[in-house]
Symmetry: C2
Subunit: 419 residues, 2 copies
């Protein structure tokens, strides 16, 4: 097949092979396949090692060199014609315990399909192109999540990460040793090479593209997040003997706090506010005892750092006023992807004649950390029903293919950017 | 000491020995004493068997005969002068895991003190007087609670109760065998003897007497209770990617249900309403996932059966309207103690010149079941701060003594009632 397309970016996009892409997704999903159609592939588990072996074989067949690093990230590199820093793309292949076939995997497999399309089209780019599978993004086996990408960006994190233990007591250090023994010939990636750019293709994991009936999302950044626990104290007392007016029910206080927090979160953040009270614990949690203590968590997200800061202040004031204790568990500032990379993503959509929506990512991704290392951007395809972290996670085939074509287009432009 | 009192009821009341009563409470509290001042004495545990041995020795010293029955209840009998059914009094000596010295124990020890006072005063009553220690009232080791008293009233319950298992897997049948081996000479109480009356002296376990500054409570009945679970379904979704308007948060629904239930419970039951939402469970209970399912319990109590029935109907209507599932876990109708016994309790308070408050019991007691067997009443003394089921459980010494005097007065009158 000769497409006679003069623009190499468009040529690569058009050489993306739909059947090969979809088959590769189906094949990777066999590693850790569950009876319910979902996938369970914990990071660095034996299932994950089998899946990694499969990817390595595929990359070698495509002519790539394969490297790893201190956190067992996998790098599949297609050389460029010039001695320039590479363009990175990819995502992760570990899953939630009851995850789907696409979260993370799609970004890795679409990137490998881009390399296959470049091969098929006989295109040589100026810069090297490296496909990365980041280790332990989900944070399900080892906490925190996004270990591989955050350690790539800040190698000093590894000392702490290596002590992390899974539920069976296995440390990350042990799991990395197992990985090293499974792949004894894998060379370490040379240190100190800064990437030219990173682009991550991912399913949206939310409903916005589907609601808008738009097939592609140009991701302008990742909203910031703050996690807290709120501890509300009351007085345990007998359900039968304590008059209503003499009670100090901790759940009554917690419900009042939740309402106040939701109200000022909405006032502060408007339509971009995401505030979730996901985890609840009640003591003594007895049917005939008035709750003595209720602890709940807050997950507050917003793309504007000033809103996150204002939320933090109002929460502290509200807690002081109501006599409850608040503790911060985690926070990450909003990430704004630079126009220099985002424009290539938007241009790719336009070049393919596809409608796109510019949006913020609601979920965390490896790109959140890579953005500290090099100019970064993301591309989304729709999630059916907005469902993710679930065996029902799905994206229409034509969206999966279109997303891969847009990625190929964008990567070729980035790989051909010269200083 | 010769008190020259012609009324034997008053004579017995005045012979109650404060020091002996308080010492007996302190001694029983040594069986299962905890470092925090509380008591942990699970029903039929080795600690409980030691405590039972102590009570049996005391009763034998007082000249009582001792019997047991199929549920290991202990009966300490002082004979009367006529072949008439006995008057029963007593409570239980098992405790909550972190219980106090008084809940249950006070009623048993005050009753033994009444027998000692009758002995000291040389009073012979027409009817026998039997002090009972009912097995497993708290329901902490074996479920349900009030096993001993409910099986006494309805022996057919024993077949089911014997299969109940504690947290270590020991059945009640095993525990009863251990009890039988520990007390091999204990005779079984003769079957078929209906009691003339039952009077239970107990700490209030609530704040009403203390708030009213009244030392004695004449208990007119025990409020009815209904226990339910309410299951509210939502949709699990990603905290970061799901817009607020697209959420179905199960906790939002549960909080709305709780508010509606509390509102109609208060409207229906007025000041006597006791409604508690004590146990909460949230799924998946993850910080970054919108709650998919929230289950909570309702403990609704009221002295009026019509109010309990109306609550049941309104709850069903509310659940149907809001699309939530309600399940009934337990119910017990209100108990109204007959005037024939209650008047003896009230007369005793008056005869001692003590102020009393007529009130309903908010907590369950063995008297709830005995009321099905024979005319029953209860007498309360104040609980400091309304606190119970807690090492801090306490009652002023003068109230403990006064309650015992009133019990003695009341028991002598009941024991001298002839057909």
């Amino acid at each position: 097949m000769n497409l006679h397309v003069s623009d190499p970016a468009l040529a690569a996009a058009l050489r993306v092979d739909a059947a090969r892409l979809l088959a590769s997704i189906a094949t990777l999903a066999t590693f850790g396949a569950c009876a319910d159609g979902g996938v369970n592939r914990p990071a660095l588990s034996s299932t994950d090692l089998d899946a990694r072996r499969h990817l390595i074989e595929r990359a070698l067949e495509l002519g790539c060199t394969v490297h790893t690093d201190a956190c067992a990230n996998l790098f599949f590199r297609r050389e460029g014609s010039k001695p320039l820093p590479p363009v990175l793309t990819g995502s992760h292949i570990d899953t939630q315990p009851s995850g789907g076939k696409l979260d993370g995997c799609y970004g890795v497999l679409a990137a490998l399909e881009c390399i296959a399309a470049l091969e098929d089209a006989g295109i040589c780019t100026h810069r090297p192109l490296e496909v990365v599978a980041w280790t332990n993004e989900e944070g399900t086996r080892f906490q925190p999540g996004a270990m591989g990408s955050s350690a790539f960006v800040d190698p000093s994190r590894m000392a702490r990460y290596r002590d992390a233990r899974d539920a069976a007591g296995v440390t990350l250090a042990d799991a990395l040793d197992t990985h090293a023994h499974a792949f004894p010939t894998l060379e370490m990636r040379p240190d100190g090479e800064t990437a030219h750019a990173f682009v991550e293709l991912h399913i949206e994991q939310g409903p916005l593209l589907e609601i808008a009936s738009v097939p592609l999302g140009v991701v302008s950044g990742i909203q910031g997040v703050r996690w807290y626990t709120v501890r509300c104290a009351g007085t345990a007392a007998h359900a039968g003997t304590t008059p209503m007016h003499a009670r100090r029910d901790a759940m009554t206080l917690a419900i009042d706090m939740r309402a106040q927090i939701e109200a000022f979160a909405t006032t502060l953040g408007g339509e971009h506010t995401r505030v979730t009270f996901g985890r609840w614990s009640v003591e003594p949690n007895s049917i005939n005892t008035i709750p003595a203590c209720v602890t709940f968590t807050i997950d507050f997200r917003h793309p504007d750092a000033a809103v996150l800061d204002a939320f933090d202040r109002q929460l502290a004031e509200c807690a002081a006023r109501c006599g409850v204790a608040v503790e911060t568990l985690f926070d990450h500032p909003p990430v704004h992807f630079p126009h220099t990379v985002v424009r290539h993503v938007a241009n790719a959509c336009a070049a393919l004649g596809a409608r796109s929506l510019t949006l913020n990512s609601g979920a965390f991704h490896d790109a959140m950390y890579l953005a500290k290392h090099c100019p970064t951007a993301m591309l989304f395809v729709p999630s059916r029903g907005g469902i993710s972290h679930n065996p029902l996670e799905a994206t229409n085939d034509e969206h999966l293919v279109l997303g891969t074509r847009a990625l190929a287009h964008c990567l070729v432009h980035l790989c051909n950017e010269t200083p």
